[in-house]
Amino acid sequence: VTGQRATLLGLVVLLGALAAYPLWGSGYGVRSMLQLFMWIALAGSWNIISGLTGYVSFGHVAFFGAGAYTTAILIVKASWSWPAAALAGGVVAVLLAVVIGYPCLRLKGPYFAIAMLGLNEVLRALVSYFEGLTGGGLGLSLPTLDATFDIYYAMGLIAVAVTALTYAIVTSRFGLRLMTIREDEVAAEAMGIDTFRHKLYAFLLSAVGAGIVGGLAARDQGYIEPISVFPLLTTITMIVMALFGGKGTVWGPVLGAAVLFVFQEVVWARFIYLHQLFFGAIIVAVVLLMPRGVLGLLQMKYRLPRTI
């Protein structure tokens, strides 16, 4: 119990420090932390569907992009305030997840994964088709607004919310059922779990965070275009972060995002053209050598609970 209390205290101190950071941090520092929050939220979102149920989403950037476009359109065409528009981005991402999840998650097997793989192309096609609304290939420029600090807090809040949501799921019966589906779906069904509904709910929960993050990122960047909000690299990055840290755990995506983000800023910025090669190699290495990620290694060594 004292250990738990110490952890909790440490968390509070850490969050307090992060909340105070913009008061003294440099512009570059705040911007970097904002990015890190974004990756924590995205990797955590991916983890909720793929880490907990074992259904791989190869197109999670679709929710990010859908959120970004919704937010941008609402701000530009309907003059919404950005927090409301970003929340609407989350709603649209959930609706999109229903449309994809309903047909694809009813079935066991690779259908969902490949459907998500193809989703990017479709959304990009749709964005360029509805030119009047989306600006097509030219993109959309948002009115200028200096809200870096506000977005810093909003992004931080989402990162915390996704992590807390994962904790709530993992420690609940709902989470237990998701993990049962991951380990053996037929057995889960035999035990009376409505597997389709559980997978779908997990998917919706994993879409909402990514959608809101997309909206915040759109406001932060002030300009969006199809290539900038639907890059395959974004999906790859969140997968790599969650895998590297440890999929199916609460802190894995946070750890993975933190380590790889720092590494990316310090080392990979110089080898940008090797990015995907590194990521591919990390995915292959993690799958073959340490399927439970870095956190899994730590858990084994220090006998920590396996899902937190």
């Binding site: 694809c104 690779p110 490949i114 096609a125």
Partner: protein, 292 residues
């Protein structure tokens, strides 16, 4: 939106659909083979096709080799690469949960694309070997596509002949029906897996070689082929090899029909809508489940 559809346009659609369909069927047969034998969906199937396309391009650009003559070369190169991938990486995840094999082949896929970008740059490259079309009354028959269709149909027929008639082909089908029983019958299952992966990669390579003569190629061209090949085997019924033929033809025809009434951008989304619809209505595919 185009409203008036003349019989000639419809004929054109059917012809173009069949030409495209033969190619889809051949490439998808590779994906179906790996899925049937190992229960693995190889996400790197499209990028392997891309490597086949580059093999043909470079043999043409630097050695002046007739691109159609380079098909056996690109098939052989990718057969070897496929075996190496299987031997080094993929065999480790065959019995692992699906998530492992999907992620592993996804990792291989993005690494291959990045390597291709480094080695070949992202420039579009085209083989100007055969252009223009033959006229058949009101219907135009693109030369490169017609030749590609003939090659694809022949290679697919050879692959089926191999699977039906040879001992090795029978062993591959036996392994895909039941690995345990195949093992008991004295089939070296590891070797069958190696050959299957090689064969599947070679089929993808043949597709790449043929595509290279039709359109400009670039390193990211492959990804969409993984998706379309998967759609073809879903249409035909997963694990059902003849189903890949039907699925390929269907996809070709539906895409051409869609391009008749939709704009280019929207017809790109047709394959996707089709996948979602099939999964909703008839998830076991049009020919039904697993029969080999």
């Amino acid at each position: 939106v185009n409203v008036v559809v003349t019989p000639a346009m419809l004929g054109q659609v059917v012809v173009s659909g069949i030409l495209a369909g033969a190619l889809y069927a051949m490439v998808a047969l590779g994906l179906a083979l790996i899925f049937g034998v190992m229960r693995v969906i190889n996400v790197a199937h499209g990028p392997l096709l891309m490597l086949g396309a580059y093999t043909t391009y470079f043999l043409w650009a630097h050695a002046g080799l007739n691109p159609y003559l380079s098909i056996p070369v690109s098939m052989a190169v990718l057969f070897a690469l496929g075996m190496v991938l299987q031997r080094a990486l993929v065999f480790r995840v065959i019995d692992a949960p699906e998530l492992s094999s999907l992620l592993l082949t996804f990792g291989i896929s993005i690494a291959l694309v990045n390597l291709a970008q480094l080695a070949f740059t992202s420039d579009l490259r085209a083989i100007e070997f055969i252009t223009g079309s033959w006229g058949m009354g009101p219907i135009a028959l693109s030369k490169s596509r017609a030749i590609a269709c003939v090659f694809a149909a022949s290679i697919t027929a050879l692959a089926f002949l191999f699977l039906q008639k040879t001992r090795l082909g029978k062993a591959i089908r036996a392994t895909s029906q039941s690995r345990e029983v195949a093992m008991v019958c004295g089939i070296d299952v590891q070797r069958i897996h190696l050959i299957t992966f090689g064969l599947a990669s070679a089929l993808a390579a043949a597709g790449g070689s043929l595509i290279a003569v039709m359109v400009a190629i670039q390193p990211e061209m492959g990804q969409i082929w993984t998706f379309k090949s998967f759609l073809v085997i879903v249409l035909g019924g997963a694990g059902n090899y003849p189903g890949a033929l039907l699925g390929g033809m269907l996809l070709g025809l539906i895409e051409q029909l869609a391009s008749l009434v939709l704009t280019t951008q929207l017809s790109e989304a047709v394959a996707y809508v089709l996948l979602v619809l099939v999964l909703l209505v008839r998830p076991t595919g049009l020919l039904g489940g697993r029969q080999t």
